[in-house]
């Protein structure tokens, strides 16, 4: 990168040091050129000279005949940015600047979707940000129409349409009430990019257990654990059973298996048993034989 900058500067410095020879030669530089397109630079005067086109990412050198138009074929300049043109003849040096602009035709989208996993029914929980690039990987800074489309697990669709600002656009969406996979698509013209968002169950809701005697022990079992949207809470979620009896306490953290958690605790007549998951409390049972 450093060489990229130093090299053109060295060329410019070298050309500046040459004695002024070609007093009458003039270049007619275009104000702007679209990246990748052919362009030409008419040059007046007589004799021969060397034309340098210097940008941050590219340097072109042409031996030119003064009094003719120098043509550059398509694909000569493709990195967007400001370019310096230096005409160095036998007796003079002339310079000017022009811009290479991104092609105003999206060819690639960099689409960042966050998070990749979130609980159901979360307002503005999903964020998508998109950056639009042309076929030459230049960021298209001109306003470009963008649409975001989030398709939920049940097929519901949320859409947002906007224009990019300085090459980017972003939108936020709600996660829906059903667990599963969301398809999050960003469109720019005919180009699209897709990301996948996982919607996972939320906190348990209405956590409830039942108790029954099982031999010498007390068998505690939850009802199928679901979140407030009715989704089955993921297996492996920790359910905490606590039995309090006569000043003593027993606690077991049990992972959900097939949607329910069960555990055996000591059978104490008069014990108080509670169930919880994280910060969510369930029901309480005062056990009597």
């Amino acid at each position: 990168m450093r060489l990229r900058v130093l090299f053109p500067l060295c060329i410019v410095a070298a050309t500046m040091m040459q004695p002024a020879l070609c007093q009458t030669a003039t270049m007619s530089l275009p104000a702007a050129v679209e990246a990748g397109k052919a362009f030409s630079i008419p040059i007046t005067g007589s004799g021969k000279a060397t034309l340098y086109i210097i940008g941050l990412g590219q340097v072109l050198k042409r031996d030119v005949q003064l009094g003719q138009t120098t043509s550059f074929p398509a694909g000569s300049l493709y990195d967007a940015g400001r370019y310096l043109a230096v005409l160095s003849g036998d007796s003079s040096t002339q310079s000017g600047e022009f811009d290479v602009l991104p092609v105003n035709r999206p060819a690639e989208l960099a689409f960042l979707a966050r998070p990749s996993r979130l609980p159901v029914a979360l307002h503005d929980g999903i964020t998508g940000a998109v950056y639009v690039f042309d076929p030459y990987q230049n960021l298209i800074t001109a306003p470009t129409p963008i649409s975001f489309e989030l398709t939920g697990p049940a097929g519901s669709v949320q859409k947002r349409a906007m224009e990019t600002h300085d090459g980017s656009a972003w939108a936020s969406m709600d996660s829906t009430g059903q667990q599963g996979v969301d398809k999050f698509v960003a469109h720019a013209g005919e180009i699209s990019s897709t990301r996948v968002i996982g919607q996972v169950p939320g906190d348990p809701c209405g956590l409830k257990m039942t108790a029954r005697q099982s031999g010498q022990k007390l068998l505690l079992e939850t009802d199928p654990v679901r979140d407030c949207s009715g989704n089955a809470v993921s297996d492996g979620t920790i359910i905490t059973f606590t039995e309090t009896f006569n000043g003593g306490q027993s606690t077991v953290d049990v992972p959900l298996k097939h949607g329910v958690a069960e555990v055996q605790l000591a059978n104490h007549n008069g014990a108080t048993i509670s169930v919880a998951s994280g910060i969510v409390l369930g029901n309480q049972i005062h056990w009597k034989d």
């Binding site: 960099a110 993921s234 492996g236 003593g248 027993s250 992972p255 555990v263 994280g278």
Partner: protein
């Protein structure tokens, strides 16, 4: 120049002289450490007998220690060693006895009760084991009756375990820029407050894994002055359960020694969570938990491994709450024996005496480590 040379010659001569003296006439304690005969060869008193036993355990002179016992006919030497250090790999497997205390409890002409407290130096710090020993007189010598506890064993059987296991596939080098990596688990500090103690500021709190995947967690806190400049940054280190399964809550405690709460304007908390492969097994039940008031305030209970896998190291973390449900203290204990399936193992967590009166409830979590892998 000349005096320096003289000093060097003197120091060399003195070193050689001391090495010779130490070799020919070693100190009793050094001889005992080196495996020579016991520092206290004879046991004219009950305390001396227990002290000799402590020395032999410290020197890992198991044969001598076993030979000195009064009731050695009741068990074998390996049983005695395993009774001390565990039958299965545990915290004591990689520890040495740093020191021991002998405290007479009761004595008569022919027998005595003596308490032997062993201070094991383990990888997680000092670990105590306390033994109440009965010592009997045998002629002019006293001998220790070792209170052997035959290891409880479980009948050979198959315990089906089908709890979840989470494995993680991270993004690879071929993924394009912008492609998502696996999201880090979402964790949340659900309670936090600072407490002023004699040795500094302590931050207590609880951390919840509110995600559906397991998380490796830790918490870092930075104390800021009233002018918002940082005073100190500390982490929870091992005063936290690092593995949190979905919807599991761990307490944490962060110490800031030599800092006064009056210096602190605000606190910046930084919980860290990383996705980690983990298993929901083993399930450890905590039975018969009892809060004991001051003096000697503690939380006692039993750990019961309900899975089929041996847990080699168990870390018990207790969160203590006042009547309003605020966290008052967090304390922990490493259990120094392995948790075998369905064999209860006791634990005892000590609570600061000044806080014990304000504690009305508690919650206990267990962090486990198995040498076979998994957690």
């Amino acid at each position: 120049m000349k005096s320096g040379r003289l000093l060097a010659v003197f120091l060399a001569a003195a070193t050689i002289a001391f090495v010779l003296i130490g070799t020919v006439w070693p100190a009793p304690s050094a001889a005992a450490y080196a495996g020579a005969k016991s520092m206290l060869a004879s046991s004219p008193t009950a305390e001396a007998a227990v002290g000799n036993l402590g020395d032999e355990i410290r020197a890992q002179a198991w044969e001598k220690a076993y030979a000195s016992l009064a009731n050695k006919a009741q068990f074998t030497e390996p049983e005695f060693v395993h009774d001390l250090t565990g039958y299965y790999p545990s915290l004591l497997t990689y520890s040495t006895l740093g020191s021991f205390d002998v405290r007479p409890l009761h004595a008569s002409a022919n027998d005595a009760d003596v308490q032997l407290t062993l201070h094991w130096a383990t990888v997680v710090g000092s670990s105590l084991s306390v033994w109440a020993l009965h010592v009997i007189r045998n002629g002019d010598q006293w001998e220790v009756e070792w209170p052997i506890v035959k290891a409880s064993t479980l009948a050979p059987q198959v315990i089906p375990v089908n709890y979840l296991r989470w494995d993680v596939v991270y993004r690879g080098p071929g993924d394009d820029w912008g492609a998502q990596d696996v999201e880090a688990p979402h964790v949340r500090i659900v309670d936090m407050h600072p407490v002023e103690r004699a040795d500094g500021v302590v931050i207590l709190g609880e951390l919840l894994n509110e995600d559906i995947v397991p998380a490796y967690v830790s918490v870092t806190a930075t104390l800021l002055s009233k002018e918002k400049s940082p005073i100190a940054t500390e982490g929870s280190f091992d005063k936290i359960s690092h593995l949190l399964l979905p919807k599991q809550v761990t307490p944490f405690l962060i110490k800031f020694p030599n800092v006064s709460l009056s210096q602190v304007g605000s606190i910046r908390m930084a919980p860290l969570s990383e996705l980690i492969a983990a298993s929901a097994d083993p399930v450890i039940a905590i039975d018969n938990e009892q809060l004991h008031p001051a003096p000697g305030a503690s939380l006692t209970g039993e750990l019961n491994n309900q899975g089929g896998q041996i847990v080699n190291v168990a870390h018990v973390l207790g969160t203590f709450y006042d009547k309003a449900g605020n966290v008052v203290w967090v304390a922990d204990q490493y259990v120094n024996q392995a948790l075998l399936p369905q064999i209860p193992v006791p634990f005892e967590i000590h609570i600061p005496e000044d806080l014990a009166r304000s504690i009305s409830s508690q919650r206990t979590v267990i962090a486990t480590y198995s040498f076979e892998g998994s957690q």
